[in-house]
C-alpha cells in the first residue's frame, strides 16, 4: 500500500453513550515519525489507537491519511483490513493453533500470495526479529520476549504504512522491556514508516518517541518532543506525570528579561525563589504557556526531587524539617516539611547523614524551577 505523508486526526471525538472517552483530539503524524500516546489508565489512549486502526468508529471529527478520509464519524469509513495498518496488541494476540511461521504468514496467506513469495517474506521477517530456528514452534512453547517478536514480525511482514503498538512491553519483565524497547526503535528505523505507540510508562515514551502526546480523561494535555514535555510541562498534570514531585503554589513578584534570559522572582511557601529560563531555546514547546506569566499572578512552580541539593546557596535556599528518609543506593529519598506544612521531596547524595526531625537547609538551581500556570486542577 502507498505510504502517506501525514496522518491527520481533526477534532476527533468518541463516546460510549454519555461517556466521552475522546474529546477534541487533534494530532498529525508525519511519515517516519514515532509518536507516543502517554497517560494513565482511562485517559483514552487505547481508544485513540482503536479509532486509528478502525476497530472503533469515531463520533465526531475525522481521521485521514493525506487526502484519503478513513473515518468522518458518519458514512465514510474505511474498514480496518483496508487501511494498511499493522497492530501489536498488549497480549500479542498470537494464534495459538498456528506455528510461528504460519502466524507470521497469516496476512500473506489470507491475501493469497504465491507460496514462494510467502516463504521469502516470512523468512525475512523472522531474520529481522532474530527468531531463526523457531519457525515450527507454537506460541505456547515460546518465552514472552519471543512471543513479542513473533507479534512484531507478523505485523511488519505486510509492510504496513503505519504501525500501531498498544502497550506492547507491559507484559515483559524490566530487563527484557529495556532490551525490546531498543529493538522496537531499531525496527521502526528500518521500516521507515510511522509508528504510534501507546503506553503509561514515561521512561518508555521518552526513550522511543519523536513526539509525545500526553493525555488525561480523553483530552490531550500537551504535545511535544520528549525534551519539551520533560523540561516544559504545560500544566500541573503533565508536570506530575513527568516526575515533578514538588508542585507548589507561588506568586510572581517580578519578571525581568535580558540577553535571551528570563528571570522570574517568586514567592512560595514563605521563601523567595528565582526561576531562570532561556527564552529562545530551540525546542518544540508551547512557549505561550511560559510567556504568559504576569506580575502578581498565582502560578505553580514545579521542581524535580533530583534538582534539590543539600546546603545553602546564593539563591533559592530553603529550610525544612526531615520527616522520612529512604536509602535508595545511589541516592537518598528525603521527605521534608516547610514551616507552613507543605511537603518537599528531594533526592540527594547519601553521603550526608540525616535523620528524622533534623532541620536541614536545601537549595535549588534556578534553572530547574519551572513556572506553570495554576489550572486549579487536582493532579
Amino acid at each position: 500500500m502507498k505510504d502517506f505523508e501525514k496522518l491527520i486526526m481533526k477534532d476527533v471525538g468518541m463516546s460510549y453513550g454519555d461517556l466521552h472517552v475522546l474529546r477534541d483530539f487533534n494530532l498529525t503524524v508525519d511519515r517516519n515519525e514515532f509518536v507516543t500516546l502517554l497517560g494513565p489508565s482511562g485517559c483514552g489512549k487505547s481508544t485513540a489507537l482503536s479509532c486509528i486502526s478502525g476497530l472503533l468508529h469515531i463520533n465526531d471529527g475525522r481521521i485521514q491519511v493525506d487526502d484519503e478520509i478513513l473515518d468522518d464519524g458518519g458514512h465514510r469509513f474505511v474498514s480496518p483490513e483496508k487501511r494498511g495498518f499493522g497492530i501489536i496488541f498488549q497480549n500479542y494476540a498470537l494464534f495459538p493453533h498456528m506455528t510461528v511461521f504460519n502466524n507470521i504468514a497469516f496476512s500473506l496467506s489470507v491475501s493469497h500470495k504465491p507460496k514462494d513469495e510467502i516463504k521469502k517474506r516470512v523468512e525475512e521477517a523472522i531474520r529481522m526479529v532474530h527468531l531463526e530456528g523457531q519457525e515450527l514452534k507454537y506460541p505456547s512453547q515460546l518465552s514472552g520476549g519471543q512471543q513479542q517478536r513473533v507479534a512484531i514480525a507478523r505485523s511488519v511482514v505486510i509492510e504496513p504504512r503505519l504501525l500501531l503498538l498498544d502497550e506492547p512491553l507491559s507484559n515483559l519483565d524490566t530487563k527484557l522491556r529495556i532490551e525490546m524497547r531498543f529493538e522496537l526503535k531499531q525496527i521502526h528505523k528500518r521500516l521507515e514508516r510511522a509508528s504510534i505507540y501507546v503506553t503509561h510508562d514515561q521512561s518508555e515514551a521518552l526513550a522511543l518517541s519523536d513526539k509525545i502526546v500526553i493525555m488525561k480523561i480523553g483530552k490531550i494535555q500537551q504535545i511535544g518532543t520528549p525534551k519539551a514535555v520533560y523540561l516544559y510541562p504545560a500544566n500541573r498534570f503533565v508536570a506530575d506525570f513527568m516526575g515533578y514531585k514538588n508542585i507548589w503554589k507561588a506568586k510572581i513578584s517580578e519578571i525581568t528579561e535580558s540577553e535571551g534570559q528570563r528571570q522570574i522572582l517568586l514567592e512560595s511557601n514563605g521563601f523567595k525563589l528565582i526561576s531562570r529560563s532561556i527564552i529562545a531555546e530551540n525546542i518544540q514547546v508551547d512557549t505561550a504557556v511560559i510567556n504568559a506569566a504576569k506580575l502578581g499572578e498565582e502560578v505553580l512552580v514545579a521542581i524535580r526531587p533530583d534538582d534539590i541539593s543539600f546546603g545553602a546557596a546564593a539563591v533559592n535556599t530553603l529550610e525544612a524539617t526531615v520527616e522520612v528518609t529512604e536509602y535508595l543506593g545511589t541516592t537518598n529519598q528525603v521527605s521534608a516539611k516547610f514551616k507552613n506544612g507543605t511537603l518537599m521531596q528531594a533526592r540527594v547524595t547519601p553521603s550526608h547523614s540525616i535523620s528524622m526531625n533534623d532541620r536541614v537547609t536545601f537549595n535549588i538551581d534556578s534553572h530547574k524551577i519551572f513556572v506553570i500556570p495554576d489550572d486549579k486542577e487536582e493532579a
Binding site: P80, H97, V110, S155
Partner: protein, 287 residues
C-alpha cells in the same frame, strides 16, 4: 516433619467411596454383560450369540437404523450449536433470557418432550389442525411416529448440551485474536474458518462425542415417536425386546456390548482426529 512424596493413606482413603461406587455401578455390570454375551443360557462359554447377531439381517439392520438416526441428529445439533455459540461469543442482548429458552429442553424429561411433540405434531395435534383449518391439507396425517419424529426429539434433547459446551469454548477465545485477524487483512469468513473454528474444534469434538453417545442409545423417543418394530427399530429397543419379551438375557447383553463397541469406535475416531489437531489453550499468556 518429613513429608513423603505421593499419596498418604489418608488421602487414598478419600478415594474409597468413589472406587466402590464405580465398581458396583459401572465395572461389575459391564463385566457381567461381557460374561453374559459370551455364554449360553446354561452358562457354557460360546461365541454363538455374536455369530447369531452378525448372521441375522434384522439385527444387523438395527445398527444402520441407529446410525442413520444418531449421526444426522448429532451433526445437525453441533452445526447449529457452533453457529449460535459463534454468534453469542461477545454476548448479545437479553442473553440470559435467550440462553434460558435454549437450555430449557434439558430440564424436561425425554417422556415430557415426546408427549409434547405428540400433542403438537400428531394426527390430532395443533399443527395438523391448523393446516386443515387453513385449507392446506385435506386429510390430517401424523408428522411423527416416523424417522422425523425421532430425529426431532433427539435434537431437542441433545442440542442444549452441545450449545453449553461450545459457548464455553467460544467465550474463552480472546477477542484480540479476532481483531488481530481483521487487522492482518482477513475477511470475516477467513477469520471464522482459519481462527475461530480451529480454536473451537476441541469443544466441537467433545460436544460431538457426548451428543452422539446420547443419540446412539436412543430408546424412549424411538418407541414413543417412531415405529419401533420397523422404521425406528434401534439397537437399544432390540436389546430390550430380547431381554424382556424373549427372556434371552445373553443375546440382549450381546447387543449391548456391540452398541458399546460401535460407540467406542466412533468416539475413538473423533478423538484420534482431535489429537491430530491443535489441543492447547485458546489464548497465549506471557511466557
Amino acid at each position: 516433619m518429613e513429608r513423603r512424596k505421593g499419596w498418604s493413606a489418608e488421602t487414598t482413603a478419600f478415594l474409597f467411596p468413589a472406587v466402590v461406587f464405580l465398581l458396583v455401578v459401572f465395572i461389575y455390570p459391564f463385566i457381567y454383560a461381557i460374561q453374559l454375551s459370551l455364554t449360553d443360557g446354561m452358562g457354557a462359554v460360546t461365541l454363538a450369540n455374536y455369530i447369531k447377531y452378525f448372521t441375522n439381517v434384522v439385527e444387523m439392520k438395527t445398527i444402520l437404523i441407529t446410525l442413520k438416526i444418531s449421526l444426522p441428529v448429532t451433526i445437525l445439533s453441533i452445526v447449529l450449536a457452533v453457529s449460535i455459540a459463534y454468534f453469542m461469543r461477545r454476548g448479545i442482548k437479553h442473553e440470559k433470557l435467550i440462553s434460558f429458552f435454549l437450555m430449557l429442553p434439558m430440564t424436561l424429561g425425554v417422556v415430557l418432550i415426546a408427549e409434547g411433540m405428540i400433542t403438537y405434531f400428531g394426527r390430532n395435534g395443533w399443527v395438523m389442525m391448523l393446516l386443515e383449518q387453513l385449507g392446506f391439507v385435506a386429510d390430517r396425517t401424523s408428522l411423527i411416529h416416523n424417522y422425523f419424529g425421532v430425529v426431532m426429539s433427539l435434537f431437542i434433547q441433545t442440542f442444549p448440551m452441545g450449545l453449553i459446551i461450545l459457548i464455553g469454548y467460544t467465550s474463552g477465545i480472546h477477542p484480540s485474536l479476532e481483531m488481530a485477524a481483521t487487522m492482518l487483512g482477513a475477511t470475516k469468513a477467513q477469520t471464522f474458518w482459519k481462527i475461530m473454528l480451529p480454536l473451537m474444534m476441541p469443544g466441537v469434538l467433545i460436544a460431538f462425542a457426548l451428543n452422539f453417545t446420547s443419540a446412539f442409545s436412543v430408546f424412549t423417543s424411538a418407541i414413543m415417536l417412531g415405529q419401533p418394530t420397523s422404521l425406528t427399530r434401534v439397537m437399544a429397543y432390540a436389546a430390550y425386546v430380547h431381554a424382556y419379551e424373549y427372556y434371552d438375557y445373553n443375546f440382549s447383553a450381546t447387543i449391548c456390548i456391540i452398541m458399546i463397541i460401535i460407540q467406542l469406535i466412533i468416539i475413538g475416531f473423533v478423538f484420534a482426529l482431535r489429537n491430530r489437531l491443535y489441543k492447547g489453550a485458546s489464548a497465549v499468556g506471557k511466557g
